[in-house]
Point group: C2
Chain length 316, copies 2
Amino acid sequence: MQGLSFKKTLTLRKNLPPPSESNEARIRVSLAGICSTDLEIAKGYMGFEGVLGHEFVGVVEAAPDPNWIGRRVVGEINAACGECCFCVRNMRNHCSHRTVLGILGRDGSFAEQLSLPVQNLHPVPENLTDEEAVFTEPLAAAFRITEQISIRSEDRVTLLGDGKLGLLIAQVLKDRCRLVVVGRHAERKALLDRWDVPSLSLDQTAPLQHLSDIVIDATGSSKGFDLAQQLVRPQGTIVLKTTCAGRPKVDLAKVVIDEVTLIGSRCGPFQPALEALAQKKVDVYPLITEVFPLKKGKEAFRKAAERGVLKVLLRP
Amino acid sequence: MQGLSFKKTLTLRKNLPPPSESNEARIRVSLAGICSTDLEIAKGYMGFEGVLGHEFVGVVEAAPDPNWIGRRVVGEINAACGECCFCVRNMRNHCSHRTVLGILGRDGSFAEQLSLPVQNLHPVPENLTDEEAVFTEPLAAAFRITEQISIRSEDRVTLLGDGKLGLLIAQVLKDRCRLVVVGRHAERKALLDRWDVPSLSLDQTAPLQHLSDIVIDATGSSKGFDLAQQLVRPQGTIVLKTTCAGRPKVDLAKVVIDEVTLIGSRCGPFQPALEALAQKKVDVYPLITEVFPLKKGKEAFRKAAERGVLKVLLRP
């Protein structure tokens, strides 16, 4: 089996053993997406070794329950033990013994085949293309915000970041609140204009200081948090979507003085993401920069890391 | 008027002008308390210059409404404009134009007299001694936690810090949840034992990793946050009570991965604090290390900064 594997360096390997967990589903990958986390992992973040990738759409080839065979699916990335104190509290994404597709102890989706527990799978509605379905996982991460905090229509919400994840979050939130996106890219502004989402460049944020009820940091940069602190109002909320290596210096005293709430936000619910895609409420096509064949995976990674590039997809 | 004033250094000044705001109450201070924030301010934190001190009990000498004259009072420390966007949202403690007693643009309580708006004052119930009443402000800060987060009886709450504020928080929370205090001082452990509050030393915390529903950082040290992150469970809550100068390095990625909520917590409600003191539900006497006359204020500050010392009071 061919796959894009990381161990100190990124390597296209042609003779990987296919996944053989008999108690899981084996899925032939149709399309996979490169996420910023993959770029971080390929720099050594998380200390992961193995096949990278956690965004995918594919077709079930084998499964303990034969009803799954032949179905087109997407899959939740956290494989839980089902028995630990977090699993029994319905916090499977935080299972103490979890493996995570392409991130922690489990080979990922940048390969011809992958393996996941059946309970992680979601059938893909027929009216979705593979190009749309492959966005289910990051779109679910965007919907996670709506599970964690109550967002009211009158709330002033500032979204920091007009990258891949930011543009999904913008589409999820745009009709739910008074949203402004702070971005870096002129061509994204045009896209946001088309979606009727107001946007500002970084140097236009001064008048917004301490006026946002909610600030969402999807910058992917450790600098995002400082700006979030400048923009959030006292007793406001900062949602942290950015994961990056290192320990940024943080003004914790300001968190106390302004009584701000910070909330970390990771993986989200697949069902609302699939519904939004099926109802064409989220437009993912403008987010696709390029599709590479898997065998050009290293080139795809270089492309994905370039400034101004949005989603790069891999087709095995 | 005599007062303990800070401008680059701490100085006992004997010829301060008495407060003369005709639209505020003038209060003769009976007793004032030194808080860790005062020690930080005396090191330059907040850039404050003027009379220090924000904890006090005293007697009203003059007021726009003569009904207040002669009453024994404690006072909320944030003086608000009443008109800004935060004041009109009932967030007076976060008023954009606020002054704060002995902390921001307003002389404080380490003096013979101080001035505060009448609406900041609370009459002290007769059955409280001055020594009890002077704890109202820090006890209100402890009660603030119960306003900000919902604490259930089954919640495992770990309180980091057995200092002045920690011991007040411990008494507020001990009958509301499954509380454990992590402290540094053997004699405080004896006190916590007497209050039926389980406590551990720092080197006993390893078995508690990732098991606390709520962790409260009242260590007063930038190291408290790291320990809080180790002890809080995924999707748990960290309440930040520590304000110290500087920008500690923080593992924000871990906040995201564990989807932890952080909440900054500052000033709190005086009414429940006064009620708890009046009902003798909170014992403050073991927290008083020493009472100094105001004229020995500099000596009192040195004492308050010593390791193992709890509350030092000043009597004008």
